[in-house]
Subunit: 325 residues, 2 copies
């Protein structure tokens, strides 16, 4: 799905993504710091590089010239975004004691709690080192710092709400805004700043994209087999995290409404709860909500946008709600 988006956004996008990859490798290269192999592996295992891609698409043709300051700025932004995202995942895995992510052992699993905590801290710091080099003014650092803080606060809210199932949709969405939308928002702002555009220009769309992405992620945790997601179904249930599919399902299924998540002790039991959630139609309703959110996001895009960006945003919006991203 990334390839068609990159193609729509312009011939340069694939090259910029490759520069971000190369930069990530350099940042965590042996000798660049005492990062254990697992930290490096976690970053290399990668993922969709969705946040760098968003920044690159937002920057548009301004970053097409490899020698332009805009190109350098958006590459730095992409590296910093992915370092921050990876750091945040590594810390989340520590707190969830997660053995697997993307089908591979987490840093927590391979190197232990302490090393994973330190590696996360080191990657958070490295993101600022990368971002500030050659930055034109305090804007980029301020954006990244605010997003990093939002990630931590989102995680804090999620932990505070752990094992509680009587949350309303509003509180769930507010948590997702912190946990996920904030870094999408930062991607859009950094991309726009790199291109010399108003940083607010695509931020509302980016937040909507992030929110829809999180909703679909939460649906996948209920319905998708481990082969697809790289982790067993029902991980959220086992962590005590009530997501929107469960909140919706509780409205339809009185047994689920009464369920104490603490009594769900293993993956088999969690999978059964997932089946009950799916049986209520709650996952379709969550998908529908994600589609509405992303449509509202598309509606915030400025009029008269160039075809390249308009097309790429449309593909990203579709990719997020068609579960291809």
């Amino acid at each position: 799905m990334v390839a068609p988006i990159a193609a729509a956004a312009g011939a340069h996008v694939a090259a910029v993504l490759a520069e971000v990859e190369a930069g990530l490798r350099t940042t965590v290269a042996p000798g660049s710091g005492a990062l254990p192999d697992a930290g490096r592996a976690s970053l290399a295992a990668g993922g969709k590089r969705l946040r760098p891609l968003l920044a690159i698409v937002v920057a548009g043709s301004a970053a097409a010239d490899p020698a332009s300051p805009a190109r350098a700025a958006v590459v730095r932004a992409g590296i910093a975004l992915e370092l921050t995202h990876t750091a945040s995942l590594i810390h989340d895995d520590v707190l969830d004691a997660s053995p697997l992510r993307r089908g591979r052992p987490t840093t927590f699993a391979s190197d232990g709690r302490a090393a994973a905590t330190c590696v996360g801290d080191a990657l958070f710091a490295a993101a600022f080192t990368v971002l500030v080099d050659g930055a034109d003014g305090p804007g980029p650092v301020r954006i990244l710092a605010e997003a990093s803080r939002a990630l931590a606060q989102g995680e804090l809210v999620q932990r505070g709400d752990a094992w509680q199932t009587d949350l309303d949709e509003q509180r769930y969405l507010a948590r997702c805004e912190l946990k996920t939308s904030a870094l999408f928002d930062a991607a859009a702002r950094l991309g726009a700043l790199a291109a010399g555009e108003d940083p607010d220009r695509f931020a509302a769309f980016a937040r909507a994209l992030g929110l829809a992405f999180q909703l679909f992620d939460d649906v996948l945790d209920v319905v998708a087999p481990a082969e697809q997601t790289g982790k067993p179904r029902g991980s959220d249930i086992l962590d005590g995290t009530a997501t929107l599919p469960l909140l919706y399902a509780r409205e339809r299924d009185p047994e689920l409404a009464k369920l104490d998540l603490r009594t769900v002790k293993n993956h088999a039991a969690a999978a059964e709860v997932c089946d009950r959630i799916a049986a209520t139609g709650a996952t379709e309703r969550t998908e529908q909500r994600a589609r509405e959110i992303v449509q509202e996001g598309l509606a915030t895009l400025p009029e008269g946008l160039d075809d390249a960006r308009a097309g790429a945003f449309e593909l990203m919006a579709r990719g997020v709600v068609d579960r291809r991203l």
Copy 2:
């Protein structure tokens, strides 16, 4: 001890420290983010504010005028340094499962592992937000990011060396450079930048000060009663951290040289090990080493320094090795 240093460094220093305190309170004020009370308490409980003090002393009379850009810059630096230091302590306490620091429950103890991890992350991020506001160029952020990374790497090295007692002094000092000197170095650089001076000017002295401070901290863990340090003796032993007093003592006491730290299971046993270490004269030897280091640091100070700074640096150097800081 802080008061005489502040007095020596200039009449403005106490006022700048007060501005740093006020800034810290504002940064973590309720409503400024989802910081739980414990995070706030941990920051308010404070400590000696040694890193902000160092930055302020380095900035010298350039920061005396409350309306000057140098004053604003050094206040931001002080806040950012203390946020980073506190974040790092909160994460260390999580990894050590420490119940007490400075005689109060740690964030880990009061709010749990997950909240403490998130609060640390949020404070690390907040430091960058504070520092970048009004910053003149990328220098300050680069300095703080490098120091943050060093703190994480130092912790990583310490964890990697856990339970190993056959380390040499070189490796111990290299770890202290990362864990402690790096943030003292950052304080000196940020202070010098605020004053428009060469950031390297006092950095070697600051690193030496940090190193000596750490050596004395490690001596205190062996000899000082809990009433003085706010935590029981021998915490390092129980965490499996071999510090210089133990390394020196192992050279003199064959029983200590054979000791497996994993067999030391409680505070009473750790206190016994501390007594054995002290009986070898290893703590005095460590203190002597710290005095040499700080003397070497003083020797790096530029000639012809103004009396205010020269006097304050001398007091800081003495305070660190006389265990008054």
